[in-house]
């Protein structure tokens, strides 16, 4: 019976080649997309799933008050580790980590940038899992002059030589002996690593006394708890370890919580900066899209199967008469679906394989062939196949097996079957509601991205690249660069103008009494900043050429003046922690953060002695010469550093990287949803034209024009698409309103965009249906009549 069913299934699939292929394409594409999404989701939710201490290991996150705003952070003070160890017996292991600023490793003449280098307490290896290929995790960091490398980095430096015991130089100040080699952590970790060095004895090379105090939040603290410990209680206990930091006792007190390591990637939404972050909302969104695409493909299958049920009806009726039970018939039809889906699953696996590079470009996730044919993926495709079979196989099987044999015998037409077309219409509408809504959302997303890219920032970012450096005398480097002919201008600051994150608080100013809790974003820069970026002054002036003259001069942006309630800020004094300076200029507001947030108050100063960010404006478009020139000068001034530059356009785009990726994936999926939907109505239109072949012939003989026949054949479909559109528009409106709310600056939900997107949807559907209908309408009428 089972084998027979498979045999018959294949025979049926072969006989209805056209529809089998149509269904096959739809299901294969649908399953491919769903598989890619599933793989993506699987990867997103698998972060840090490999630590053996999961369930007991936590990261300490701290909530601190900063300038009136309470923020969550993943950094804690250095003394916390010792305090926890001493005072909280429920904690088994506790370790600190701290990433270094632009670390560089040197071995003989080979220089390697090892950005992910951490100072760590050795207990970290008992909290998080790192696979030691060589060396002993318990002793590798016992000696302060030791270092652990990943196999990848070791290979880069030493090739096939054994790296153990070799001495390398870190940042030109530490001579370290390699005492361990770990495997590079998997990509799904919150903590990618290049090197580890011992925390004790080395930390003072990188942090001042002050940064090691309870006041300074610079270190991540990880710990493991004894089994069955009340996590919340430990969080509270840790809170009590923090000494009171400010006079206003309770208010400014920091408090701590424990966050499971396994959940750092997806669950730390409240923390703004720190580790790479996934977005649970996006995951859910894509999960739904995968389901919708599968549903759309399954609807094609259902509709194309049941629409053509008439030609199955006879054999079903006869089978019943010779004794087939309903369940046997259902089994037979489900088997047909199973065969179809199994074939498509293989197709999907292959297609996924081919689609990987493309998917990588869109999603930023890299999967290898091994991932595609891994157990997990095979499991996923199995699950997908099951869902698809349930979605697409069950309904037709039940509907087809319900025929009463007597209907068949009388040959009195299949009114009973056509009566079911209500369901079919509903399904077609469902398809087009989903795909039209997706298309409309795509259009708005693309428009928003376009808006972001074309919106005037209030400064010029073109032909400018930036790089960071460790050179002590910024001025000397700047002067050297200015001499290069390919370079137009050079500017300096303490951070990136694209995304200013430093801020200050606790200042006083003329007209207000006492210390204020106002938070001002703050940037240290030089005298040519204004002209370099084309900032516009509202009032007053920019800094003077000589920094000494202006060491206590401040420049505000409009938002700052407003926040400080200063109508005429220029000339007023500001008291910055006891030192008084003067506001010399008011600059027009410009966007120094992402469009997600409003323009915040900003103050410019030039008191810093360190300007690690440097901007270079190239002459004309030939940037390569300028870059080469900068690299040459850079090497002269800082031979041990690795030169890395980034154009501001790119930095800027990085602000919206996750939106761009989401947007890209979203557009791709919407397009595919639309294509699959169209495959479906293409099939239905073909079938309608086939069924009405004779009628069309007669009508033509009677003088009907081709146009009127196209109209006759297409108008039912267009009606459905139109209804779908009417439902899709408010749906899309709702989703987009929510999505755009993530941006402080966003486009409007213009009605005409809905109209255009809607027209696109109708247009695509029209083209699909009309193509088939026109073919039927053009056919030779005589032939169609004679053929009966």
């Amino acid at each position: 019976m089972f084998l027979k069913n498979i045999k018959y299934a294949f025979r049926n699939l072969k006989r209805d080649k056209f529809y089998t292929v149509l269904n096959g394409i739809g299901l294969t594409i649908g399953m491919t997309v769903a598989l890619l999404i599933f793989m993506w989701i699987q990867d997103e939710v698998s972060y840090d799933n490999y630590h053996s201490q999961n369930g007991q290991n936590y990261l300490v996150v701290a909530n601190t008050s900063f300038g009136g705003e309470r923020t969550w952070g993943v950094r804690t003070p250095a003394p916390l580790q010792f305090a926890i160890k001493e005072q909280i017996p429920e904690v088994q292991k506790v370790a600190r980590t701290s990433g270094l600023w632009k670390p560089v490793l040197k071995y003989e003449n080979f220089v390697l940038s090892v950005n992910k280098t951490f100072l760590v307490d050795a207990e970290l290896f008992q909290i998080l899992d790192f696979e030691f290929l060589q060396g002993d995790p318990n002793t590798a960091l016992s000696n302060p002059n030791s270092i652990i490398l990943t196999d990848e980095n070791a290979h880069k430096i030493f090739g096939n030589e054994n790296p153990m015991g070799k001495t390398v130089k870190l940042d030109d100040k530490l001579d370290l002996k390699i005492t361990g080699i770990i495997k590079s952590p998997p990509s799904n970790t919150h903590l990618p690593v290049d090197c580890f060095i011992p925390f004790e004895n080395n930390v003072n090379q990188y942090y001042s006394e002050n940064s090691m105090s309870w006041r300074s939040f610079n270190f991540s603290t990880y710990l493991t708890l004894r089994p069955n410990t009340d996590v919340e209680k430990i969080g509270k206990k840790i809170t009590t370890l923090f000494p009171i930091l400010e006079s206003e006792a309770e208010k400014n007190r920091s408090y701590a919580e424990l966050h499971p390591v396994r959940d750092i990637y997806l669950g730390l939404g409240k923390v703004k900066f720190g580790f790479p972050k996934g977005d649970p909302v996006t995951i859910k969104l894509f999960g739904w899209i995968a389901f919708i695409i599968l549903l759309i493909a399954s609807i094609n299958y259902i509709n194309l199967t049941t629409a053509r049920a008439a030609h199955r009806a006879k054999s079903i009726g006869i089978k019943k008469i010779v004794g087939a039970s309903r369940s046997q018939l259902i089994g037979q039809h489900v088997m047909e679906t199973v065969c179809m889906v199994v074939i498509c699953s293989w197709g999907a696996l292959l297609l996924t394989q081919f689609g990987l590079p493309f998917f990588k470009e869109t999603s930023g996730k890299e999967f290898t062939t091994q991932t595609v044919f891994s157990q997990t993926t095979i499991g996923l495709i199995g699950l997908l196949a099951l869902i698809t079979i349930l979605l697409s196989g069950i309904q037709p099987a039940f509907q087809l097996s319900a025929f009463r044999p007597v209907q068949v015998l009388k040959g009195s037409g299949f009114k009973g079957i056509d009566g079911k077309s209500g369901l079919r219409k509903f399904l077609v509408i469902t398809q087009f509601v989903s795909s039209a809504a997706l298309i409309i959302c795509t259009v708005f997303m693309l428009r928003q991205m376009d808006f972001i890219q074309s919106k005037k920032l209030g400064y010029q970012k073109e032909h400018i690249f930036k790089f960071t450096h460790n050179v002590e005398s910024t001025q000397r480097l700047k002067t050297a660069l200015e001499k290069e002919p390919a370079i137009k201008d050079v500017a300096i600051s303490d951070q990136s103008i694209v995304s200013i994150t430093n801020s200050i608080s606790g200042i006083r100013w003329e007209g207000v009494d006492g210390r204020q809790d106002l938070q001002l974003f703050s940037m240290h820069t030089g005298s040519n900043m204004k002209d370099f970026f084309g900032l516009e002054m509202k009032n007053g002036r920019w800094f003077n050429r000589s920094a000494n003259l202006d060491s206590m001069s401040f420049i505000l942006n409009e938002s700052a003046a407003k926040a400080m309630n200063l109508d005429q800020p220029v000339g007023k004094w500001i008291d910055m922690w006891g030192e008084r300076g003067t506001i010399v200029g008011l600059v027009k507001d410009f966007h120094f953060q992402s469009f997600h947030s409003e323009i915040k108050p900003l103050i410019f100063r030039q008191t810093a002695d360190w300007f690690p960010t440097m901007y270079v404006k190239t002459k004309g478009d030939d940037a390569a010469i300028a870059i080469a020139a900068v690299e040459k000068v850079f090497k002269q001034h800082s031979p041990n550093e690795v030169f890395k530059y980034e154009f501001l356009d790119e930095t800027f785009n990085n602000l919206y990287k996750s939106e761009m990726k989401t947007g890209n994936m979203f557009s791709l999926f919407s397009l595919i949803a639309m294509i699959i939907s169209c495959l479906g109505i293409f099939g239905l239109a073909t079938y309608t034209a086939e069924k009405r072949f004779k009628e069309i012939g007669i009508r033509k003989v009677l003088g009907a024009s081709a146009l009127s026949i196209v109209n006759l054949l297409s108008k039912d479909f267009l009606k459905l698409v139109f209804i779908a559109l009417i439902i899709a528009i408010p749906l899309a409106w709702y989703f987009m309103k929510n999505w755009l709310n993530n941006f402080a600056f966003h486009i409007n939900l213009d009605w005409w965009v809905f109209a255009v997107a809607g027209l696109i949807a109708i247009g695509i559907a029209l083209a699909t249906v009309v193509f088939q209908s026109a073919r039927a309408a053009m056919s030779d009428p005589v032939e169609s009549i004679r053929s009966e």
Binding site: R15, I318, V322, A324, S325, R326, V408, L409
Partner: protein, 231 residues
């Protein structure tokens, strides 16, 4: 075996009912070979379908082996199709995508008979009906007579108690028709109960009883011998 009492079958169209069968009374004993005759549209097929439980009466009683048929659900009917009733149709109604062999085999599959046991049963019938050579052909590659042989083989492979045939020779040449009727006769002799519908007086002679339908009633119900004598 079969008792029909005041059986009515009508179709509703709008507010109007049009009767096909108005009050049928009929008794069929096991082993009988009955021919139903009547003008086109007299309701012969309808009656046959009701007897075969493909259709249901609107009113009246129908007992099959002393069980009330109108109480049967689909499952029970399927059981009866499987074990008691075989059908032969004027239009053959073979399954187009199955070969001759597979068509004949189908009822056995639905009965859950194992492949090993199916083979000899199908082979026997193929042999008996002289269609061994055609066993791998599809229905549209056969002549009408051959198709009907397959139809008959399929109907009787499950050894039904009752064989229902609706104009089995209607589409066939005389010679092919005779061949089929000869097989009916053999089956009858082996003890099978047969009810056939035919327009042909000659075919009617193969059976032992003729029922005439007219205006929805049984007009005449006679033994073949009686009729012969009267002529």
């Amino acid at each position: 075996m079969i008792q029909l009492r005041n059986l009515e079958r009508y179709y509703k169209s709008g507010f109007q009912k049009s009767w096909v069968l108005k009050g049928i009374n009929l008794d069929v004993k096991q082993g009988e070979f009955i021919t139903i005759m009547g003008d086109s549209g007299a309701g012969k097929s309808t009656l046959l379908q009701i007897i075969g439980m493909l259709d249901a009466a609107n009113k009246g009683e129908y007992n099959f082996f002393d069980e009330e048929v109108h109480r049967f659900n689909e499952k029970k009917r399927t059981e009866l199709y499987k074990h008691y009733i075989g059908f032969v149709f004027q239009a053959y109604h073979l399954i187009d995508d199955l070969t001759v062999y597979e068509n004949i085999e189908t009822p056995l599959i639905y009965r859950g008979i194992k492949s090993k046991e199916r083979k000899p049963m199908v082979a026997e019938l193929l042999d008996r009906f002289n269609i061994v050579a055609k066993k791998d052909l599809f229905p549209d590659q056969l002549s009408g007579g051959q198709q009907q042989l397959v139809g008959l083989a399929r109907a009787i492979i499950g050894k039904p108690k009752l064989l229902l045939a609706d104009e089995p020779t209607g589409n066939l040449h005389t010679k092919q028709g005779e061949e089929i009727m000869q097989l009916f006769k053999e089956l009858h002799n082996e003890g099978m109960t047969i009810i056939q519908v035919t327009h042909s007086e000659k075919n009617a002679q193969y059976g032992d009883r003729i029922v005439h339908l007219e205006d929805g009633y049984v007009r005449e119900d006679k033994n073949v011998n009686e009729l012969l004598e009267r002529n």
